[in-house]
């Protein structure tokens, strides 16, 4: 299957947007080559601002640009974008619902060899806790382009989570992206995997393995963590009786947390969370890290098998 990194798709999408919308401006914090904002910088140097290694100032400057009518996209690694600058995002951006887009790359453990200090596994939890922010986690290159375009249409802050390595292209060019509306990637009535980001491809793989054993698994691609598509979650709970979530993020506070909150309140069924356990990461190849922390199709399939036996009323 063809693989493209979501950050590459982001770089291309920014150039398209730059052509279409003169209000789009881009800021980076000395990582333009890695985040791919360098593509925008090449085409529109007057609308690109490298802010140096100063993430708080990057977000604050973006708030001012947005207050004056611009649509700033800020990029750096997810760990710095959401962690270092968290309170600036909260008070200068989200509090006033300013039109700042934060597209953070190198999220999750697949940043790999740089190790635990650079592996952002809490960014979704941080961003999701803020009022007014839309949190998008695209699963592939097609979804990334669509998410970036959608972000411009949304009036207010948007966080887009991007990754470093290439990931399989899951969608055709006719893919329709609607923020807040989950995509059912395949049907099934025995269990549901709700996955986000790079784990959508893994979920589809796991569902394929389980199908051979006669277990029909629904795979829901939750590309928007906030606002969460609660209807899709509750339908999965009601119709399949058990949910397994999958994310390249801490099991605390991310997709799994959001799904569990919705299910507990509206239609309690068992919810199993597959994600990075409550630990910091370490250096390694992305594939090795995914294996170590249980973010593989085989592990996900195991979790679904276990979950099916715990279904309510069975």
């Amino acid at each position: 299957m063809r693989k493209i990194a979501t950050r590459d798709a982001y770089g291309e999408a920014l150039v398209e947007l730059g052509r279409e919308n003169p209000d789009v401006v881009v800021l980076d914090a000395d990582l333009a080559k890695s985040t791919k904002t360098i593509e925008f910088a090449k085409h529109f140097p007057e609308r690109f601002f490298d802010m140096g290694i100063a993430e708080q100032n990057m977000i604050g400057t973006a708030a001012g640009l947005a207050a004056a009518g611009k649509i700033p996209f800020c990029s750096t690694f997810a760990i710095f974008a959401t962690g270092r600058a968290f309170e600036i995002i909260r008070n200068s951006v989200a509090y006033s619902r300013l039109n700042v887009k934060i597209a953070a790359s190198h999220a999750g453990i697949t940043v790999g060899e740089d190790g635990g200090s650079h592996q952002s596994v809490e960014d979704i939890a941080l961003m999701r806790s803020l009022p007014n922010i839309t949190v998008l986690v695209p699963a592939d290159a097609v979804e990334t382009r669509a998410a970036v375009r959608a972000a411009v249409q949304i009036q207010g802050p948007v966080y887009i989570r991007l990754g470093r390595p290439g990931v399989p292209v899951l969608h055709g060019d006719d893919f329709h992206f609607e923020p807040g509306r989950a995509v059912t990637m395949r049907g099934g009535n025995d269990a549901t995997i709700i996955a986000t980001g790079i784990m959508v491809a893994t979920a589809l793989e796991a569902a394929g393995l389980l199908e051979q054993e006669g277990i029909g698994v629904r795979v829901v691609n939750m590309h928007t963590i906030k606002p969460l598509d609660e209807e899709a979650v509750i339908a999965a709970a009601r119709e399949t009786g058990v949910i397994v979530t999958a994310e390249e993020h801490s099991v605390i506070g991310g997709l799994g947390g959001a799904v569990a909150e919705a299910v507990c309140a509206r239609h309690p069924v068992p919810v199993y969370r597959v994600g990075v356990p409550d630990v910091f990461g370490e250096s390694g190849k992305p594939g090795e890290l995914l294996e170590k922390y249980g973010l593989t199709a085989a592990h996900l399939a195991d979790k679904v098998r276990e979950a099916v036996t715990k279904k309510v009323g069975r």
Binding site: M51, G60, A67, Y95
Partner: protein
């Protein structure tokens, strides 16, 4: 300089100070000390310097003011009300549930507030963003920002100072309300920020040091700053915390404590 104009502005600053006392007194909380110290600067900006239209608060070509030291909200609210952005009577709703006059400025709640501030250290970066937008749009508006001297202990201020000089934002004029006191005591004791003028100069700014309570000096400094090309400008204003109310002047205790009713009376009598 026109003596009549100076007298008019000095009287306006006194009125702003009276509002600060009444508002914080009515609220029973708030920050009178740093509001009073910056009253002359804010008055100069809103009643002489800035190009604004209270009837059209979102006018794209308006000058912007960012109150980075957002806890001095009372001085900003008083100026906005006196300038006609909202009724003066509303000042007495400061900090009350449902009031647009939040404890710290909220741009979505009150017309004329250009940026939500209060978490210290964030305003200069926002001002820079507005200044960059002006440049991109080919507009000639200017952005004024007021920082506190304790506030510049925040590292982000220096990130923004660096960026403003790097991008040669000569449409940014900052004031430093150099009153020497912060919550825990004298700035020099808590965490010295000296030498401030040299620091800003070293960061690539045009720097002036003035008496922040001398209206004529404030206006002259702004004029000189406007003529600077290729550099952001810092006007270090030497001020007195609690200025204008004898029992509040230079008293750290009045940083974040509201006057009681009898204190309101005494303060208003002094400001009459």
């Amino acid at each position: 300089m026109d003596g009549e104009k100076i007298k008019r502005l000095e009287e306006k600053a006194r009125e702003i100070r009276r509002h600060i006392i009444r508002m914080t007194g009515a609220a029973g909380s708030g920050h009178p000390g740093g509001s009073l110290s910056s009253a002359d600067i804010v008055t100069a900006l809103y009643f002489e310097v800035m190009r604004i239209d209270p009837k059209n608060p979102r006018w794209p070509d308006r000058d912007r003011f960012v109150l980075s030291k957002g806890h001095a909200a009372p001085v900003l609210y008083a100026a906005l009300a006196e300038r006609g952005f909202f009724p003066v009577e509303d000042l007495l709703t400061l900090r009350r549930l449902g009031s647009p006059l939040q404890g710290h400025p909220d741009m979505k709640k009150l017309p004329g507030v250009e940026m939500s501030t209060g978490s210290l250290g964030q305003g200069l970066a926002c001002a820079n963003g507005m200044a960059l937008a002006a440049r991109l749009d080919g507009r000639d508006y200017r952005v004024y920002v007021l920082l506190g001297d304790g506030e510049i202990q925040e590292g982000m201020v220096w990130e923004a100072a660096m960026a403003a000089a790097h991008y040669r934002l000569d449409n940014v004029t900052a004031f430093l309300d150099h009153n020497g006191l912060q919550i825990d005591g004298p700035v020099a004791k808590v965490m010295s920020v000296e030498p401030v003028a040299e620091k800003w100069r070293a960061f690539g700014w045009d720097v002036q040091v003035i008496d922040g309570h001398n209206m004529e000096e404030i206006l002259q400094a702004v004029e000189k700053a406007r003529a600077v090309r290729g550099k952001p400008q810092m006007i270090v204003a030497e001020t007195v915390k609690g200025k204008g109310v004898s029992f509040m002047e230079n008293m750290v205790e009045w940083h974040g404590v509201a006057p009681k009713p009898d204190e309101v009376e005494r303060a208003l009598a002094e400001l009459a």
